[in-house]
């Protein structure tokens, strides 16, 4: 199972294993990783699972798609080119070892 390392704004890390096909948001919420709210459950409706993909890994996840990008523009923490909504990152085996830094305000 692909593993994800979530980095909290305070620097603490949480390493969790994702079920194949689950989103990074679902995985964080399932294991109670603090800072990922995921209020809407993945409906692209709330922008409360904002993460920054490790810049070296953004090529693997790809950047935010149109609708997601618009949601990010109005997220509580200002987006960067590495911003994604974790609910839109589907965990496949090739994403094993992904590092996601959780945005400080959701």
């Amino acid at each position: 199972m692909p593993t994800i390392t979530f980095v909290s704004p305070d620097g603490t890390t949480h390493r969790v294993a994702a079920a194949p096909g689950a989103s990074a948001m679902e995985t964080a919420v399932k294991f109670g990783v603090p800072g990922i709210v995921g209020e809407c459950g993945g409906g692209l409706a709330c922008a409360t699972c904002h993460v920054f993909v490790d810049p070296d890994q953004i090529g693997r996840t790809g950047p935010a798609a149109d609708f997601e990008e618009e949601m990010l523009e109005d997220a509580e923490t200002a987006p960067t080119p590495c911003s994604r909504l974790a609910c839109q990152i589907r965990m496949t085996p090739d994403l094993d070892g992904l590092t996601l830094t959780i945005a400080p305000r959701q």
Binding site: E26, V29, F31, G43, L44, F67
Partner: protein, 418 residues
Amino acid sequence: MTGQILIAGAGEAGLAAAITLRELGYPGTVTLVGAEPEGPYQRPPLSKEFLTAATPPAIPELRAAQFYAEHRIDLVRGTGVRTATWTRTGGVAGLGDGRELPFDAMVLATGSVPLPLPVPGAGLPGIHRLRTLADAHALRDQLEHATRVVVVGGGFIGLEVAAAARTKGASVTVVEAADRLLARVVAEPVSRFVREHHAAAGIRFLLHTRVTGLVAADSAAGGPRVGSVVLATPTGEVRLAADLVVVGVGARPVTELAAHLGVTDERGIVVDAHARTADPRVVAAGDCTVQPHPRDPDRLIRLESVHNATEQGRQAAHSLLGKPHPPRGVPYFWSNQGELKLQIAGLSDDHDDLVVRTDADRCTVLYYRSGALIAADSVNHPRDHLTVKRALASAATIDPARAADPAAPLKTLVTPLR
């Protein structure tokens, strides 16, 4: 004091209450009882990607098994709370499997069930409703083979299922009794935009049309099965062939357990803004409740949404423990129907004015009351949705005179309410 809090219903509301009790440091027993065989899971995907994914998706669990152990939440699955009575020493709940559980406070999070179609033939095989994971699996299987799908009800569930069925290649007709889609939840321009979008994808709509009966197919192999839908149209009775019928005509709150505790009436379980019933030992959250309208507290409303369920669940936990309540957020709703994303921020039911912003690809309707912004419906327009949500959360408004120009970014028009 170490106590025992029993949560009846393991959906979003019940789970939120359980987690919040632990976050607030409650030291007693927390038991979360759900009638379904699965632990808490997400319902929204069931009417969307769950139906269209090539392989059956995994259960969209809300929390991992270890989470419940770590938070000392006793999860009881596969049996509901059927009865509850108060004795001199506390409450006793009777579970469906015959077990009895003592409690000293109860969270009612019993949810809602889809309404049946009150017409002859509604029990025939091939007629589906959608609420649970089991419902979704059954519908998914049927969609593999269905060629003529009739969806009864042009609300969120109906349109989501219609879009999914169309994606699977079936011929799809939506029958709606009102003269427009989503009539209870969005303004007319949004109804029209949504209908035109789906019609372009090949979905047929029969508005202002009631279903009066469902009839079995003449010679179905393997026993009787729905074959046609009888419709009363403005111009007379019509029969529509169907090999799969999906009914999405609303849901009723589940209040049987609440009735044992004397905290319900015919509208639902009556709670205040903090999820409190008239009995201080009983709180209630989610689809099973009616609560005061935030602008008109004398009026009780049902808010059927994930956001409300989790928010009320948190309020309920604070109420039981006597902690100061967190502020309530802006209500919001969403519906993903194929390529169409509908987002609603705020409550629009008491508006006295509206402003429409629309172009070919997207549409937003802003609602006003006494000149102040109160809500917005947006289709494929996440920027507008989040701008309105944020404006409402911070007591701001948007100049209605300038908002009608779809080229003007809403964000630049937000001003504090005077």
